[in-house]
Symmetry: D2
Subunit: 344 residues, 4 copies
């Protein structure tokens, strides 16, 4: 069975494993206060052109999200998210576990708009009973979104503007940030994201690392005592340098981005094959997740040989599925899939 | 200014104050473990035909809701509610503060349907990633709803059926239960509610008491250690008998229901005046809250003399408002309002 | 059975019930935003000589404690308390329920000393692993303490000093504040408490009110959005004026203090009788709680006629008990008890 | 600088890195539902002679502790721990963050006794105000303890007995379990621990793995929906097989135990040198942590060349320190340290 199920089914880029082996017996201080994390953080600050940013190496996406949100919000405050947002549907209530409501807004493309934020903010403060309602204080976005779309610079600028005007934090979940930043037509880069967001993370788990995400905090208000928060939420790794080391490798010489480009190219090949076959898509995604709509018969045939995610029923005879590529996707596997899409 | 703003702007039925005075120096044990609460609980069990029910006298509606939900759910479980539900919009995140997600379903009439519950339940368990999602375990309904509508026996029976089939608790917020049970056409009563729900509360605060609600727990699974939960959530009143005493008065000789009928009759008078004036309504409510749609000019004129709640803008020149009556509403005030509705 | 069990076994001072009756049908806005609460708050600010203080009328002591603590602390911060402190032993984990650790220090007299606070603070910050430990941020004291002792002005000044030096909040639980302020030798008053503490509450429940406490917040840092916090924790009373009204009565013309003095005088009579009988005390208390050590035989005899609290076994034949007086204690009952103590 | 600071300053046993490399591109399903974890769990069940145990691979010790405790306790319940217990002092309030109180008992040797548990349990249930107190429901022990001591079979049997008699869960934190099980005189083994505890974890992070602990749940009551809990608390690793793979290596052919024995032998060498030098110890530890009491002068000299933990001041001229060995400690480094202890 060939996997197009997700982007975390393999280990890590071989350079990472090699360096972990080579430095295995170098003794390091614990909990991320080591020279390796220090140096990786310095690299990230440089890439982001954010010399004052705090960088924390986190174990995974959910710990990252819940720790940032719990650190940023006062108890009665909530976080705005697209209804499709990861924190709203796929974290088993991890945000609510920290005592905060996710204020969801409807979204068909996975994105939150500046207008939605402004409207929700107004609706709260214009209501005479606002002290009986959760106070909006943060906007959570994922980029790319859970369905592969990406924010444009103008969209992100508008969001950032409405957040700053209204005293809301803007936080970007970048589990697949590399796939987004290297996607066709993307006009965002790390420095602009660092400038427009209060915090965001550069995903590692889905982007070539064994595990780990690099959280970048640019807002001074979110910096104090953040390591206490990580520990309190159970996310402080004893061997923190493990994650620092991996980002050191990934961010060296643009490896992170070239791996991302590879995944996007593989995804584009699959999309092309679908288009040539005359299939339409649930959503137009420029990144490593593709959501073609398959006749059920084709879907069944493909699923005998490939593993991919069933997404949604579209009509009586068609279903949307997700093909997911990654830094590790082999081109031969993609070519085989494409050929099967066209011939089956 | 004459108040039609809400149903908790006056004190308590005079009989309550009289009895509180007469028994003021009778010494009672603390925290609701006294003969007064005992006897009031017995009365409630009898009225509900639920001899094995546990009865707890709670300080208010929000403490009641959050304590029941926190007691009933495991940490990763959530409670289904109409998007208009009090726990979803007007409790400042009190449910999330206990670590639980409110799983909201859209509702135009304030009610949750059995079909919605079944669908949401299915959607959870049919999803292969269900362990990444909040597990639905309880259905919260308010009856009457926040917009004055009431459940029919057949609706509640269907809800109860789908809940029991799927192992969900059914909990009814009865902040205005009396207004609902005495509304025209209502085919529910306390015994049927006790039989169909796992827990519900009989509202006092909005129904003639100074403060307090009587929580009735019929499900054995929700009974153990409930007093620990009340204390832990900060809701255990030192002089618990204060609330027991009030329910003793309200439930004696049907006072609770005759007070409710009065409020409904007053509301009906206002609705009639509106209809005679040719006004339409946001929703058809048989209870003590009425939501007529007023021309802005009339709205402005009335607001000089009466206090009522602005509800929603309907179009460029019309707004929906809420007139709320209660056990304490004076008929002369209503007549004056009606005459002004017709003449202004 | 005559009650010396606790100080909340009767209703309220008759003047309160009378005023509640007289104003029963005056319509008030909800949730404590009414002229009554406004005026009572003004009175309290004046009595405390704290013109900028915020005053909130709370339902009870535990809601007061947990809301203040949850509002003041960041998630990883804790509150220092005597091991005998109410929040440490008798609130069923209500503080932990808001996510905060109670950092207890040993106490034989129910009080926390400035030295203990300084030591615990130092121990935290001098430890290289402090980010793995709960950060101390508040000191909780009760005055009078749970065992009847009171802080002197010099003790409170020292505590306040160490708190301010180290950026800790000082919060006083004043469930029985009146009994403390009117106790023999007490050199504290409301203005000095308001000046030395960041927040404290003036107890009502145990001091002549049906229910309710008046929370006074003097620290600007604790003021913002406090009403959101009250609502979120389930403590916002619909008819907030109920509590405001009671404090209006209690604080008028020094009633609060004269009721307190009465209770202390009654307690002193009991203590005198015990001393005359040659009994010793668990602790020397100048307030309404007395802890004599009784021979078990006497204890048994008295318990046939009086209800009082068993406190602790002292030796094979002696037990410490608690006699508790209150604003409502009848002098004849006390005289009877005294005579029985001397004669049985 | 040679590290004796802690037991997590190196990476992983080379066999682990080798296998991770060799299997790097084998595609695995996510979140620990893969054949690798399955097989490692099977091995663990066999070693524990617990065919029905559930095994979960966790990211670290704190996530393990907080997830087990949050899953096991009802909201108003607490967990008993030695005051020196990791959950009581070194997890930044992670347990309280889940809403639960740690009920600490004093301990000079890091252990909790059956008598302490029985006494605390009795004190709770014998108190008439027990509903105002946190209900004890679990006992947390660490084995070895935070100061290197180990439970004997008879101690653990007694603890288990008192827990079962009183309906308390017994949970063992085994961050250094291997060091304990291979220590001189230890009469416990995995099957006896599995039989006596309701849950425990086999530590990986400090025992030769890059990261990860193997949680073993033997009590049926703790099993349902545990994966929901892991996800909700942010501890579900995307590439769960990463941890399974490491335990596969460690538990093969007794590697886990031989690595542990090495660390204990290294620690014994250091202890011997200290004894030969005439030094005494803070506590007698048979495991990989040694706590000699050093003259300050010697302490200073050693610290120029070795990194170790300052533990506590003993008197004006002596301090207790901790030397920590591990699976990765080089014998030459130990020999050098021993020679310096004897000669400096």
């Amino acid at each position: 069975m060939i996997q197009f199920q997700c982007d975390y089914s393999e280990g890590a880029h071989p350079d990472i494993l090699r360096l972990l082996s080579d430095t295995n017996f170098v003794q390091q201080p614990g909990y991320g206060e080591d020279p390796v994390c220090c140096s990786a953080a310095r690299t990230i600050r440089a890439l982001c052109e954010a010399p004052d940013a705090d960088v924390h190496f986190m174990v995974g996406g959910t710990p990252c999200n819940l720790t940032v949100i719990a650190a940023a919000l006062r108890p009665y405050q909530g976080v705005i998210s697209a209804d499709t947002g990861h924190i709203n549907v796929h974290e088993s209530g991890a945000i609510e576990a920290t005592g905060h409501k996710v204020l969801s807004v409807p979204s068909s493309d996975g994105k939150v708009t500046a207008e939605q934020v402004e409207r929700l903010y107004r609706a709260h403060w214009d209501d005479s009973t606002h002290q009986h309602m959760v106070q909006p204080k943060m906007v959570y976005i994922s980029n790319p979104t859970e369905i592969g779309t990406v924010y444009t610079r103008s969209e992100l600028t508008a969001l950032s503007g409405v957040c700053r005007k209204n005293g809301l934090y803007l936080y970007m979940d970048g589990a697949r940030l590399g796939y987004g930043l290297t996607s066709r037509g993307c006009d965002l880069d790390l420095p602009s994201i660092a400038a427009l967001c209060d915090a965001f993370y550069i995903g590692g788990t889905k982007q070539g690392a064994l595990l780990g995400e690099a959280l970048v905090i640019t807002s001074d208000a979110l910096k104090p005592d953040f390591r206490y928060m990580i520990k309190r939420q159970g996310g402080l790794l004893a061997k923190g340098w493990l994650i620092g080391r991996q980002f050191e490798v990934l961010l060296h010489d643009g490896l992170y981005f070239s791996l991302s480009r590879h995944a996007n190219r593989m995804a584009e090949k699959i999309a092309d094959a679908c288009r040539r076959r005359g299939l339409s898509f649930l959503i137009d995604s420029p990144t490593n997740q593709q959501f073609p709509i398959l006749p059920d018969s084709l879907c069944k045939r493909l699923s005998e040989k490939y593993s991919f995610a069933y997404w949604a029923r579209v009509d009586e005879t068609h279903s949307a599925v997700r093909f997911c590529t990654s830094w590790a996707t082999r081109e031969e596997a993609v070519d085989e899939l494409c050929s099967d899409i066209l011939s089956l």
